[in-house]
Amino acid sequence: MILYILSVLFTMVALIFMLLGIVGLFRFKDFYSRILISSKVETVGFITIMTGVMLYSGFTWFSLKVLLILIIALLTNPLSTHAIARSAFISGYKIKREEKNG
């Protein structure tokens, strides 16, 4: 029973993290700020919701498969974010700075 309550708590925390990521996606002005905040918060939400599912399922093969999906997503998610940011930097996307001198 306490594992069920713990898994529900983890899942609700993960949903709050994902909502914060979407707020950050709409809040910031530059592309680099957006990609920074959304990738970090998305990864934290992914870890937390998969932990909630594993706590709900218990110590089974189902939980082991969920752990495998979590490991693969943790390996590939920063790589794809880095590929997008590198593509934007090489293609020449610059941040418009505010000119305060003069």
């Binding site: 994902m18 996606l25 592309f31 998969m50 599912v53 999906i69 590939t76």
Partner: protein, 86 residues
């Protein structure tokens, strides 16, 4: 109304919000970032659907979707980086 069905409904609402960002994104990299986020949310949705229906083979589909989404994102990023010249 189960708890996991409520979670999967909230995830669907999140996907709709990200689609708004994809449509009104100023640059093409914003759209690519939205594609990455939608892929991540769909993986979570498939895992929660496997918990909800208690079917274990849906996790394999989530695994394949994770690998294919990563591959697609990296390939589109390289395609834009070299300006359409693979």
């Amino acid at each position: 109304m189960n708890f996991w069905s409520i979670v999967i409904t909230i995830l669907a609402i999140f996907v709709v919000l990200v689609v708004v960002r994809v449509i009104m994104g100023p640059t093409i990299w914003d759209r690519l970032l939205g594609l990455n986020m939608i892929s991540s949310k769909i993986i979570v949705s498939i895992v929660i659907l496997a918990v909800l229906l208690d079917k274990s083979f849906l996790l394999d589909i989530a695994l394949v979707y994770a690998v294919l989404g990563f591959l697609g994102t990296v390939l589109i990023a390289r395609f834009i980086e070299r300006s359409g010249n693979l």
